[in-house]
């Protein structure tokens, strides 16, 4: 009888220990099955880069996105950063200054591509239109100016009923031909560019913004800081430099907007 009682009193402890073991094993299994595969590395610098860069790689057969893309830096740079962002996403606006700083630090040593990835969620009800407005500005060579204004002033327009008037103010500020900009917003070309970027993002599994790829390997949002990004970019540059020393001296092919 006392044995039976003892057995009964031990039962919850055994169950708790069992659940703990299962939780640890289950978590470990989930971690090992969902952890992106890291390619073999040849040196410490690459190791460091790959520890930061989560290698959700971009498939070669993924749709190209809008062509030419909104890009800055050099088209022949060894390191390409490709950002998928949504103009109403707070995290994208938060990461924007760091990415701008990276662009100014590396100049033509990197190629920076911006992809529109407006999320279809109620809280982001203006993000698709904002992307179209930025693309329409790009048709006058002012994509980056508009992109910068939309991100840096996100709080001013994101919940404002007069957001279109606010954007028009930005368009005037950067010297756009307003009637042409409004026509381009209403037209099909700017929307098609946004749709093409969306297609690419969806095909490569982008499901949140901002998503950043450095040489095809995705970077966590928490690593979108200047020091962390520098580590990854420097390691990539170091890794690729011996094979492509001439690329370092390549002229800046495209430090401005190519979307003209």
């Amino acid at each position: 009888m006392s044995n039976a009682n003892e057995k009964k009193s031990n039962t919850p402890i055994l169950i708790i220990v069992g659940v703990l073991v299962l939780a640890v094993l289950g978590g470990w299994w989930l971690y090992s099955t969902s952890k992106p595969v890291t390619p073999a590395n040849s040196n410490a610098a690459t190791n460091k880069a790959n520890s930061a860069a989560k290698t959700n790689t971009i498939p070669a057969n993924a749709p190209m996105g809008a062509q030419p893309p909104n890009q800055s830096g050099s088209q022949t740079a060894m390191v390409t950063l490709e950002e998928f962002a949504d103009f109403q996403c707070g995290s994208c606006a938060a990461a924007h200054p760091a990415l701008n700083e990276i662009k100014s630090i590396y100049g033509s040593r990197i190629r920076f591509i911006f992809r529109n990835y407006p999320l279809s969620i109620p809280a982001h009800d203006k993000s698709y239109d904002a992307a179209v407005a930025a693309e329409a500005a790009g048709m006058q060579g002012k994509f980056w100016d508009m992109q910068n204004l939309l991100f840096t002033n996100q709080q001013a327009w994101t919940t404002a009923p007069t957001f279109r008037q606010i954007w028009k103010g930005y368009a005037e500020k950067i010297g756009l031909d307003i009637p042409k900009w409004e026509n381009d917003i209403a037209g099909i070309a700017a929307k098609s560019r946004v749709d093409e970027d969306l297609k690419r993002g969806k095909a490569i599994g982008v499901n949140s913004t901002p998503t950043l790829f450095i040489n095809g390997a995705s970077i966590q949002y928490v690593e979108m800081t200047v020091p962390a990004l520098k580590q990854v970019i420097d390691a990539e540059l170091q890794k690729l430099a011996p094979q492509n020393q001439t690329a370092n001296t390549a002229p800046a092919a495209n430090t401005g907007n190519v979307n003209k």
Binding site: V19, A23, G26, S34, K35, I121, A123, T158, S208, Y221
Partner: protein, 155 residues
């Protein structure tokens, strides 16, 4: 021929079953929290519905404390809740009160995090909402046990 003890017995039986139900729900919450913790460390994309923006929520500054993902704290809390509820189900009634205190804390944190999603991040993550739902359910189960206890005492 009616049994005057029947309401009391039913209430007592329900009180015994509530901790067991709470233990099962805490296990579900634990699975959700482990999934989010693993996601945080792998940065693997999580399937997210069209009406949600998991990325903005899970990568926001609110998603971690001192470099530790909030989901890991959630997993620890759910495991503790599971343990307390299970021990209570096996007769340790004092731990059920402790479980109640814990669920009040968990529900408060969940309410704050839900507010953060709504008002600060402006985006929703279904895994986080599900966690809030399980936390509130745990709290409601505890409340129900208090009412049933009061009810059975009155009878």
């Amino acid at each position: 021929m009616t049994n005057p003890e029947a309401p009391n017995e039913n209430a007592s039986r329900a009180i015994v079953k509530l901790p067991l139900a709470a233990a099962i729900i805490a296990l579900i919450g634990l699975a959700d929290a482990i999934y989010l913790t693993v996601h945080h460390y792998t940065a693997a994309p999580v399937p997210c519905g069209a009406d949600f923006d998991c990325g903005s929520v899970l990568s926001s500054p609110y998603a971690e404390i001192g470099g530790i993902p909030l989901a890991a704290f959630g997993a620890a809390a759910y495991f503790a809740a599971f343990s307390l509820a299970l021990l209570a189900a096996f007769g340790n009634r004092a731990l059920w009160t402790l479980f109640g205190v814990q669920t009040i804390l968990m529900a408060t944190v969940s309410a704050w995090l839900t507010y953060i999603q709504y008002a600060v991040i402006n985006a929703w993550c279904q895994y986080c909402l599900f966690s809030a739902f399980t936390t509130f359910t745990l709290y409601l189960l505890f409340l129900a046990s208090r009412f049933l206890k009061a009810d059975s005492s009155d009878n």
